[in-house]
């Protein structure tokens, strides 16, 4: 079988359920692939792993992938299993924020490491300064978890529909205590969790063939996961080496993830790409519209 390594953007969780399902259910084996899945972490930049030769394919968000490309990393999107964005801003109702017009004067928390771009773009669109000056907002870097929101160090926090939001709920708050702004609804969403590889690999026909089989099997995994979310969550749990994930949380996450992958067969939607790239540019992370940052070659072959 041909070896292939996939570098995830984050730790093992249902967010990457499709790949684990494909592995566990033997979809990769069927394509004669021997796939290794490497979990990510807070300070692992998947692009570095990819360029360093530690992986053949990576999962990344489009804004950070485009930024890397502009920095000289020749990476290309080969498939886009996530059709929709799960990003949102969650605020505590007690701070009296009901619409984006209320943001000024408040502290908004976000992850950095490339994940801050959408928030900055949004604020730019709204015309709010982000340096804490009069009439603007204060941006605070937060890590990993929702504690800063619960402990009132920030008034709003970036959350994912499938993960952090539910941690807030698990902490004892009810949806009524919260106000959420989905990026998807605000029209500022960017593409998340796409599959990327390097131009160099795409120039190699043998590699292209492997990628085609990989994408085909992965999409099969995603569709299976969409239909059998509980089973997919169990598979993720089995593959979690830290032993820290809980069943309840992963099953719920898988259900939410299914809503995001729904409707994608892996083919990149060019309109969504354009929009995402524009938002990224407005956020200042790239200076020009990218060229050649995606290819339909793999998905075209995979789906036919």
């Amino acid at each position: 079988a041909d070896d292939l390594t996939l570098q995830l953007k984050w730790v093992t969780q249902a967010q990457f359920g499709g790949y684990y399902v494909a592995l566990d259910k033997g979809f990769y084996d069927e394509e004669n692939l021997n796939v290794t899945i490497k979990p990510g972490g807070p300070d692992i930049a998947p692009v570095q792993v990819l360029l360093g030769g530690g992986a053949d394919v990576m999962v990344d968000w489009l804004p950070s992938a485009l930024a890397a490309r502009e920095k000289g990393a020749p990476i290309v999107n080969i498939a886009q299993p996530f059709a929709k964005s799960g990003l949102m801003l969650t605020c505590l109702k007690e701070h009296n924020i009901t619409s984006p017009a209320d943001f000024p004067g408040h502290t908004l928390g976000t992850w950095f490491f490339g994940n801050e771009i959408p928030l900055y773009s949004w604020m730019g669109k709204l015309g709010y300064a982000t340096d804490g000056s009069e009439g603007g907002v204060t941006i605070q870097k937060i890590n990993f978890n929702v504690d800063p929101l619960l402990q009132k160090q920030v008034e709003c926090a970036t959350t994912m529909t499938y993960n952090e939001y539910w941690q807030v709920i698990d902490a004892g708050l009810t949806p009524e205590d919260l106000v959420v702004f989905k990026y998807e609804d605000e029209g500022i969403s960017t593409l998340e969790d796409g599959l990327y590889t390097t131009e160099e690999k795409l120039a190699d026909p043998e590699m292209v063939d492997k990628l085609v089989r990989f994408v085909r099997a992965s999409m099969k995994g995603w569709k299976y996961a969409e239909e059998n979310p509980d089973e997919a969550a169990e598979i993720v749990l089995e593959n979690d080496m830290t032993g820290a994930q809980t069943e309840k949380h992963q099953k719920r996450m898988m259900g939410e993830i299914a809503k995001l992958t729904e409707g994608s067969d892996g083919t990149l939607d060019e309109a969504a790409f354009e929009r995402s790239a524009e938002i990224t540019m407005e956020g200042g992370m790239i200076t020009a519209m990218p060229e050649g940052a995606f290819t339909h070659e793999i998905t075209d072959k995979a789906l036919n």
């Binding site: 300070d43 570095q48 530690g54 978890n145 080496m241």
Partner: protein, 286 residues
């Protein structure tokens, strides 16, 4: 044995402060929850609540003990949910890194003591190397080593090594230079070779320094292994536990991993202490 009572007293004092701090730090959340439920907390209720929260700012000592008990004793040691399993993962990287760090540190110290150019040029850079925040370059080290096909234990051990060679270099340079001028002159009058001088004088007289630095290096190596575990994808080990606990706000899990790490370090250091006593005793120095 003279220190049993004082140690217990200090530990007792820490526990008292710890419990009090738990009440103080966890109270805002308790009040918050009560306010949302339109309840008013009596002091007793407050104390009970702050010592039993799910995700406390500071878990009470007994919560940590319970968690430790559950993850150390009640879980099968091969299970991913067993802290013993994770401790072993970390320990193996620690020991490997410690071994490599000791060898590297020893080699550098030898070079510095016996080679004039190294003596003059290496030390400032060894010091500078330790001012580089390891966490910043750890991911890069991991990526680079990955690229050349090294993964798993070795990258973590390399980071351990990076942190642990420093105390060894510093201690061994001091130790290998600790024979006084007279002892060195004696060797000269006997026309001893460099090797004879090293094995019969410099090495034995550096032993006390060696063990002291090894203790420091062991603690450093453990930190290195944990640092190395964080960006490797947080797969397994105490570092991964810390990180995972941190993603999900599981403070109790963080604290039990912390305590486990400290116990591990204390045990490893104590082990070196035992070896030290045996060796020094055989050398007649204890």
């Amino acid at each position: 044995m003279k220190s049993v009572v004082p140690v217990l007293t200090v530990v007792g004092a820490i526990l008292v402060i710890w419990y009090a701090a738990a009440v103080w730090l966890n109270a805002p959340w308790a009040y918050d929850v009560a306010a949302r439920g339109d309840r008013v907390l009596s002091f007793a209720q407050l104390v009970a609540d702050t010592w039993a929260q799910d995700k406390p700012k500071l878990p009470a000592p007994h919560q940590v003990m319970v968690e430790l008990w559950q993850t150390v004793v009640e879980k099968n040691v091969t299970s991913k949910r067993s802290l013993v399993y994770h401790a072993w993962v970390t320990l193996s990287a620690t020991l490997l890194g410690f071994g490599m760090g000791t060898v590297l540190g020893f080699a550098l110290a030898l070079g510095i003591v016996y080679n004039r150019v190294m003596d003059m040029s290496v030390m400032p850079w060894v010091i500078a190397s330790q001012t580089i925040p390891i966490l910043a370059i750890a991911p890069m080290i991991i990526v680079v080593l990955n690229a050349v096909g090294l993964s798993g234990l070795l990258p973590k051990a390399m980071i351990s090594m990076y942190l642990s060679f420093f105390p060894i270099v510093v201690g061994m340079v001091k130790g290998l230079r600790s024979p006084d001028a007279m002892q060195l002159d004696q060797m000269r009058t006997w026309n001893a070779s460099r090797a004879q001088e090293f094995f019969r004088l410099r090495l034995p007289s550096s032993m006390p320094y060696l063990f002291t630095s090894m203790k420091v290096a062991m603690a450093a190596s453990l930190v290195g292994a944990i640092v190395g575990e964080m960006p490797t994808g947080a797969v397994a080990g105490l570092g991964a536990r810390l990180l995972a606990g941190s993603y999900y706000g599981q403070t109790i899990q963080i604290w039990s991993a912390l305590i486990m790490a400290a116990v591990l370090a204390a045990l490893a250091v104590a082990l070196i202490g035992v070896v030290q006593r045996v060796v020094l005793k055989r050398m007649g120095m204890a």
